[in-house]
Symmetry: C2
Subunit: 320 residues, 2 copies
């Protein structure tokens, strides 16, 4: 049997869709953003706003549960900062979605609203998949704007343009565009021994093991980044690399590129600065880890929705 170009033997049609923060379905209308787009959208019927206090999402307590969407008239109490707002796009019914930083002291806000970081919002199911995807987009863009308030070329205060999708220097005209940092995250597989390589960083919750990961550097292919990062952190040599899934990761604005990596060696030489532990796990161990209680003694895997969980689970399913 020859597979056609779009057929695959992978256990899912599109694994990216099964990762957290991948549910964003907004029409971004990216090619037609203007300096007027944000104001127009703010004044449109049905405009709803996601409010952010620093890197935390603000949620209202309603009878039906927690609600992350604010109407315009509900904003003033939060002290919105419209000069740093971002137009995310439009829902299918045409209603605009806007991300708005707020200035009220988070301590004060916490008395009347609930504040949550993106990771907890997805782990605790505080918003549906589609809204979580919008939260990811909003957080990334607000963080990017906030880190580029001044021109990198001449130091002058920069101005927000195109609804938060560009910043421009009024002095030297230098233009800055939102950044997205590609990160490779890979499940290394020893095919002959049927083992996979997992490690734990020094800051991990006790008992958690995950796939290795690292930023793609300038001048590198995805495959070379997988090989370099795996070798630097574990001493394992990698041969073939297979892309599997991607995931937006808004801490602060990464694109996780999930791959399977073929181990060509087995002796681990751990980078002690990066990793507290790194070892090979059997299929049975991985299966147990995916179901293990994070409150238990471990080892356990990252939560469902994390791309590391997806890679690990799909490796188990693939060869069944």
């Amino acid at each position: 049997m020859t597979l056609s170009l779009f057929d695959t033997d992978a256990p899912h049609g599109e694994a990216s869709r099964l990762t957290a923060f991948s549910g964003n379905r907004l029409d971004r209308d990216a090619e037609h953003r203007t300096d007027q787009s944000l104001e127009d959208a703010m004044n449109r019927d049905g405009a709803h706003i996601l409010a952010f206090a620093g890197n935390r999402l603000v949620l209202k307590q309603r009878e039906a549960g927690l609600d992350p969407l604010f109407a315009r008239h509900e904003l003033p109490v939060l002290e919105p900062d419209p000069a740093k707002a971002v137009l995310l796009g439009f829902r299918q019914d045409g209603s605009p979605r806007i991300a708005m930083p707020v200035l009220t002291d988070p301590e004060q806000l916490a008395l009347h609203f609930r504040l949550t970081d993106a990771r907890s919002a997805f782990r605790d199911g505080l918003a549906d998949e589609e809204t979580l995807g919008e939260v990811a987009q909003g957080l990334s863009l607000i963080h990017w704007n906030d880190a580029h308030l001044f021109c990198g070329k001449c130091g002058t205060r920069s101005e927000s343009k195109l609804g938060g999708y560009k910043r421009q220097c009024p002095a030297c005209n230098h233009m800055m565009f939102p950044r997205t940092d590609p990160v490779v995250i890979m499940l290394t597989v020893d095919v002959a021994s049927d083992l996979v390589l997992l490690g734990r960083g020094h800051h991990f919750a006790p008992g958690m093991y995950s796939t290795l990961a690292g930023f793609v550097e300038p001048g590198e292919t995805i495959e070379d980044a997988v090989r370099r990062e795996t070798f630097e952190e574990s001493g394992i040599r990698i041969g073939r690399v297979r892309y599997h899934a991607s995931q937006p990761w808004p801490m602060p604005h990464s694109l996780m590129i999930g791959c399977f990596a073929e181990a060509l060696s087995s002796e681990i030489s751990r980078d002690e600065q990066e990793l507290q532990d790194c070892r090979w796990f059997t299929r049975a161990e991985v299966s147990t880890m995916l179901d293990a209680d994070p409150a238990g003694a471990g080892p356990f895997a990252p939560p469902r929705g994390a791309i590391a969980n997806r890679l690990t689970r799909d490796w188990l399913d693939w060869s069944r």
Copy 2:
């Protein structure tokens, strides 16, 4: 026949290796960069330097041909700017590779040396694949440093750290790291009709047609970016997406992510601002275009080494 995890029916083992600028084999030793690394490397025997005048590479004319590598003693005539130099990494024999911006007026330089942009260097074969990969890394990092001379948070002049891989603000301690911009570039295939979608931007050489492309935005998966960009530029709806190859593209610091995209519709609605033309091509037409002389009447495809060429050529080969 079931393919194992790392087997593929693609016509090459790793298509990324067949793209221009992907030949970088330096040991970056990324986990161990320090503020002292660059100076140590400069003083090491065998240190060789790539010199850049703005975004152009400086080449020496030698009897054996053009040479992009400078020894330290050859630099002074170019007026090097060591505060903006970058340590790229080490060759297999341990010799350091360094990227150095130079201050001499390019007009003056051109009298004694040859200057070339990265695109011409690869198209005209002015350096081997490995060196071209180092040039890509160097150009990207020099451009990034140059665009972050001032702190984005407070406007203070920033300082280069970790051999050019970090910039830090002495006033507020804000840290900035090199950026790499993920771009999706996709060959859209109408499987039933055996046609592919190609377009031409307003700035293309007359007669050239290429695959559509666009930046991945914050909060987007690779697959969603492929669908959004294709729809925005051509009006074609995309279903399945298959990753094929990646390529470092140093104009100024992109990561090209090459995919095949499955067309679900056939009627083109071109974005006139982005594209001067966009249409479906038959297998026979594409085959002719790949061999066509760019100096002729066209249509012709992008040159060998470009990821658009790779995607198109591999689509032809796949189903043979």
